[in-house]
Amino acid sequence: MTAPTVISLRGATKQFGGLVAVDNVSFDVREHQVLGLIGPNGSGKSTTLNLISGALPATDGDITLRGGTITGLPAREIARKGVSRTFQLVRLLPSMNVLENVMAGAVFGHRRRWGASAERHALQVLEKIGMADKAKASVGQLTYIDTKRVELARALSGETEVLLLDEWLAGLNPTELTEGIDLIHQLRDEGRTIILVEHVMDAIRSLCDTCVVMSSGKKIAEGSTDDVLSDPEVIRAYLGDDDA
């Protein structure tokens, strides 16, 4: 028996003027699945993520969350329905401390809390990602990986159904990268549903159940991670025609 579908894209398309950034892309994400959205630079992965989170409106196609259409909804409603995300370039709230940053997700996210309950919950999430001791720190003092952790905690604290991670592991040094991969592994073991835009191949191999490969806005492959990564067409897309 397969788990129910959580997110489903059908013919999702995004045009910027004459440029088709995402071209008729369809795929499904099932519950407890970690899906890797991979492809060369400029292939439309992040744009696809932006369509799901509502950062950009789709030009065409349908996106559903547990069967309900979310295409065209504003980002805030999609967030409230249970899709939360991190950003490609970390975006924390500079005037607030770590705890308040995480509370932002707990107060306004999918499951909404307020007051002492929100604070307790945010602290729990911080504990889980190993930052409880820095709850009162200002975000300006954090190391790079810690800023990424806080952003992740903010996304988690609304008890989201689906987590969208936009190159969450990018820019980390080797030690941090191990820590980062362990952290996502932990989330995966909890049975979370995650869509991951990523370049780090080690991370993709060890984290993703399935992968969707994009190139020039189109989906060129989909399947289990090992199959996809040995697909000659995928290798060609990554390395260029001459090397294939």
Binding site: F16, G17, L56, P94
Partner: protein
């Protein structure tokens, strides 16, 4: 027909002023709310030279333009550049720029009142009627329109053909990428800001031939120029000219058919329509 031509003539001069502002905002990304005062200074210069030395306003332009260029360049380098440097994000720069340019605008008005008093000033230049399609128009308005049209055309050509114009357009599309292809963005921003100020001051000299102004009218023009820039689209010369003409005709229509006291209401009505239906400007693409 009468309304249309009067409106187009008024719109032509608006276009010149709005182009100056658009050049400043498009390239240096600073919304200059002291733009209208630059116009009044240009007008003051034309008025003074005409009443004192009988110098034709059309000649004054050649004096006003370089002076305004230098003045605006200095304003940018001394006052605005430090703000650009210290701003952590776009929003902060926006707030600082709004406050600073407002401050500047008040300072300029204050100095003008102090130096010349708060009286209206106007002078009579080419105040002869001229007949177009059977109706009479002031020759000064027609000449002013001709000047404005000539300058707009020159600016448009320069932006589209010359190397410097190309660089300016590149920065207005994307400052980050312009830097990558080797354009010195800060230097160019200062120049565009200076040029925009010069264009507006020239517009002031031209407009003073047929409008009565006083030291504190600048803000009205700033507002109209801003409305035009927003209607036409930031960094879009064609859009700006079209929007200026639309505003000129709209205002003239309301002034002559309903009430001359309602010109600003007319401008606002247009503004609201644009905000609601095409916030990206006439020719602008949908924001992404």
């Amino acid at each position: 027909m009468d309304i249309l031509i009067t409106g187009l003539i008024l719109g032509g001069t608006y276009a010149l002023i709005a182009l100056g502002l658009n050049l400043q905002y498009g390239v240096s990304r600073i919304m200059n709310l002291a733009n209208g005062e630059m116009l009044v200074i240009g007008a003051f210069a034309a008025f003074t030279l005409f009443t004192v030395g009988q110098v034709s306003p059309l000649l004054t332009i050649f004096l006003v333009a370089p002076l305004a260029y230098v003045l605006n360049w200095l304003i940018y380098r001394i006052m605005l550049r430090p703000l650009v440097k210290r701003a952590k994000n776009r929003g902060m720069l926006e707030v600082d720029a709004i406050l600073t340019t407002f401050g500047l605008s008040f300072v300029m008005v204050g100095i003008m009142i102090w130096a010349f008093g708060g009286d209206y000033f106007s002078y009579s230049y080419l105040a002869r009627p001229i007949t177009i399609f059977g109706d009479n128009y002031g020759l000064n308005r027609v000449v002013a329109f001709g000047c404005a049209a000539l300058l707009c055309a020159a600016l448009y050509l320069w932006l589209n053909v010359s190397r410097a114009g190309m660089a300016i357009r590149a920065v207005s599309v994307s400052p980050e990428n312009a830097r990558l292809v080797g354009i010195d963005v800060p230097k160019l921003s200062a120049r565009a800001f200076a040029l925009g100020g010069a264009v507006t001051a020239v517009g002031g000299a031209v407009i003073s031939t047929f409008l009565t102004l006083d030291a504190s009218t600048g803000v009205m023009f700033t507002m109209k120029a801003l409305i035009i820039v927003i209607m036409g689209g930031v960094g879009d010369v064609r859009g700006t000219i079209l929007a200026a003409l639309v505003l000129g005709v709209g205002e003239t229509f309301v002034a002559s058919v309903i009430d001359p006291g309602l010109t600003l209401v007319a401008a606002y009505a247009l503004f609201i329509l644009i905000l609601l239906f095409r916030p990206q400007g006439f020719f602008g693409r949908k924001p992404t």
